[in-house]
C-alpha cells in the first residue's frame, strides 16, 4: 500500500516559533494518526507544513500529500457573511455540489439549518459545519489542528464520537493534532509524539481492545511527554 502521507527529513524554522528538526512520518491511506506534543513541540508547524500554509517558514525536506486534502482548524473559520450551506460548498463547482453539501450538513446533524448564519450557531455546531465542509470534498487526507480545543468537555465528547463515525464512513487518512492524551487514545489507530521538533514515540493501538490498552498507552505517553519536560 502506498502511503497517503510521506514526510522525509522535514525541517522548519520560524523567526519566532515552531521548529522541526528532521521529521520522518508516513501515514497509510485510511489510517487515523494522532500527533501529540506539548505546546511549542512543533506539532502545529508540522500540520501547517502538510497543509501548505507555511509560506514564511524556512527549511528543507520532502512532503507528499494527496491531491484532495482538507483542513479543520481550531476555530471553525466559517465566513460570517455566508449561510451554512454556502460555507460548506465554498469553492466547489458542479451541479450536485449543493445536494452534496446538504447531505454533509445532515451527516453532522445539522439538516434543515442550511440557511442559518454562522453566528446563530454554538461553537460545537460551528465546528460541525467545518467538519462538513472538510468532508464534502471527499478528502484522502484530513488534517485537524486541535479541532476540539475550544469546545467544552461535554461537546467535545459528542464531537469525538462524530469524528470517529465520520472517519470510519469516509475513510480518509487523518492526522489529528492534539495535546489531549485521552483524545488521542480514544480516536487514533496510531499515536506519534513530537518533542522539540523530533518524533519521540510512535505507538500503534489495536482498535479491537482499545479500552484494555488505554492505561498502558497512557502510561507510556505520560513517560515520553514528561521526560521531554526535564
Amino acid at each position: 500500500m502506498s502511503a497517503a502521507v510521506r514526510v522525509r527529513g522535514l525541517t522548519r524554522r520560524y523567526t519566532l516559533k515552531g521548529v522541526l528538526n528532521g521529521v520522518d512520518l508516513d501515514v497509510a491511506p485510511g489510517e487515523f494518526v494522532a500527533l501529540l506534543g506539548r505546546s511549542g513541540s512543533g506539532k502545529s508547524t508540522l500540520l501547517r507544513a502538510l497543509a501548505g500554509l507555511d509560506h514564511e517558514a524556512e527549511g528543507s525536506g520532502e512532503i507528499e500529500v494527496p491531491e484532495r486534502t482538507s483542513v479543520v482548524f481550531q476555530d471553525a473559520r466559517l465566513l460570517p457573511w455566508m449561510r451554512l450551506l454556502d460555507n460548506v460548498v465554498l469553492g466547489l463547482s458542479g451541479r450536485d455540489a449543493r445536494a452534496q453539501g446538504q447531505r454533509a450538513l445532515a451527516e453532522v446533524g445539522l439538516a434543515g439549518r442550511e440557511l442559518d448564519w454562522p453566528h446563530e450557531l454554538s461553537g460545537g455546531e460551528q465546528q460541525r459545519v467545518a467538519l462538513a465542509r472538510a468532508l464534502v470534498r471527499a478528502p484522502e487526507l484530513l488534517l485537524a489542528d486541535e479541532p476540539f480545543g475550544a469546545l467544552d468537555a461535554l461537546t467535545r465528547v459528542k464531537m469525538h464520537a462524530l469524528l470517529r463515525r465520520l472517519s470510519e464512513a469516509h475513510d480518509p487518512a487523518v492526522l489529528l493534532v492534539t495535546h489531549d492524551i485521552d483524545e488521542a487514545i480514544l480516536l487514533a489507530d496510531r499515536i506519534v509524539v513530537l518533542d522539540a521538533g523530533r518524533l519521540s514515540a510512535d505507538i500503534a493501538i489495536r482498535s479491537s481492545d482499545r479500552k484494555e490498552q488505554a492505561p498502558i498507552v497512557r502510561e507510556r505517553l505520560l513517560d515520553t511527554l514528561s521526560l521531554g519536560a526535564r
Partner: protein, 276 residues
C-alpha cells in the same frame, strides 16, 4: 429548611429578562426623526412669537408655501432633477473608481505603493481647493461639475474600502488557500464581502460629500440646479427661496444617508453589532 426560606427572599415565579447594561435596546422605527422634529418645533415657536425676523430667516411654513409655489411654476422640480442628476453621476463615477483603485492598491504590492502613496498625499488638499484647477482643465461645464463631485466621493470610498481590505482576517485567507479557491473565487467570496462594511461606510461619507460638492459647483457659473436657484434668489434677496433651497439640500442629505443606512442593514444582515 424553614429558616432558610425565611431568610432568602422568594424568587419571583417569572423572572423578567435581564435589563440591558452595556448593550442598547432595539431602536424605535423612526427614532432618527426626533432631533429634526425638535429643531422644527423650536424654529416654529421663534417665528410665531416674532423673535425671528422673516428677512433673516422666514418661518417654516413660508418655506412650504414658497416650495408649493415654485413647484407650481415648475422651477423646483426642474432644478432638482438637474442637481440630482449631477450628484448621481458623480456618486456613481466616484464609487466605481474608488472601489477599483482600492482593490488594485489593496491586493497588489505595486498598486499599493503607487496608488496609496498618492492618495495619502492628496488627502492633505481639500477638494474644494482643487476647483480652480478643475475649471482650468475641464472648463466650467457639466464635465467639471461631475468631476468635482466624483473626486469628493472617490476619497472616502477609496480610504474606507482600502482600510477594510487591509483588515481582512488572515485566517480567512488561509481558509481560502486550503479550499483551493481560485483568485476570482477568493475575490468574490472573501475579499469583496469582507470589504463591504468599509465600502458602505465610505458610501455614507461619499454621499454627504457629493451634496457638499454639488452646492459649491452649482454656485459656480451654473445656469440650472438648486445651487443656481439659491444664488439667483440671493441676488434678489428672496430669503424664502433661499430657505427652500436649504431645506431641499437638508432633505436630500438626510434622505441619501438614510438610503445608505437601509442598504447597509440589508447587506450586513450577517453581522451582530451594538448599534444593530
Amino acid at each position: 429548611m424553614n429558616a432558610l426560606t425565611d431568610i432568602l427572599p422568594a424568587r419571583p415565579a417569572v423572572a423578567p429578562p435581564a435589563a440591558h447594561r452595556l448593550s442598547m435596546e432595539a431602536p424605535a422605527r423612526f427614532g432618527l426623526l426626533l432631533g429634526p422634529a425638535l429643531l422644527l418645533l423650536y424654529w416654529a415657536v421663534l417665528s410665531v412669537t416674532g423673535f425671528l425676523d422673516p428677512h433673516i430667516l422666514p418661518a417654516p411654513w413660508t418655506a412650504v408655501t414658497t416650495a408649493i409655489q415654485l413647484i407650481r411654476e415648475g422651477r423646483l422640480q426642474e432644478h432638482l432633477a438637474v442637481s440630482a442628476g449631477r450628484a448621481a453621476a458623480g456618486l456613481l463615477l466616484g464609487s466605481v473608481t474608488g472601489v477599483i483603485f482600492a482593490l488594485v492598491s489593496g491586493l497588489t504590492l505595486l498598486g499599493g505603493y503607487v496608488i496609496d502613496g498618492l492618495v495619502q498625499l492628496k488627502r492633505g488638499i481639500p477638494i474644494l481647493a482643487l476647483i480652480p484647477f478643475m475649471v482650468l482643465w475641464l472648463g466650467i461645464g457639466e464635465t467639471m461639475k461631475v468631476a468635482v463631485i466624483a473626486t469628493s466621493v472617490f476619497f472616502p470610498i477609496y480610504i474606507q474600502t482600502h482600510t477594510a481590505l487591509r483588515a481582512i482576517d488572515l485566517r480567512h485567507v488561509e481558509l481560502a488557500e486550503t479550499l483551493r479557491l481560485s483568485r476570482w473565487q477568493f475575490l468574490r467570496h472573501v475579499v469583496l464581502p469582507g470589504a463591504l462594511p468599509g465600502f458602505l461606510t465610505g458610501l455614507r461619507f461619499g454621499a454627504t460629500g457629493a451634496w457638499l460638492a454639488l452646492v459649491v459647483v452649482e454656485q459656480l457659473n451654473a445656469t440650472s440646479g438648486i445651487g443656481y436657484m439659491v444664488t439667483l434668489a440671493r441676488n434678489y434677496a428672496q430669503t424664502d427661496v433661499m430657505l427652500v433651497g436649504l431645506v431641499v439640500y437638508a432633505l436630500l442629505g438626510f434622505g441619501s444617508d438614510a438610503a445608505v443606512r437601509i442598504l447597509e442593514r440589508r447587506a450586513l444582515r450577517w453581522r451582530r453589532t451594538l448599534g444593530r
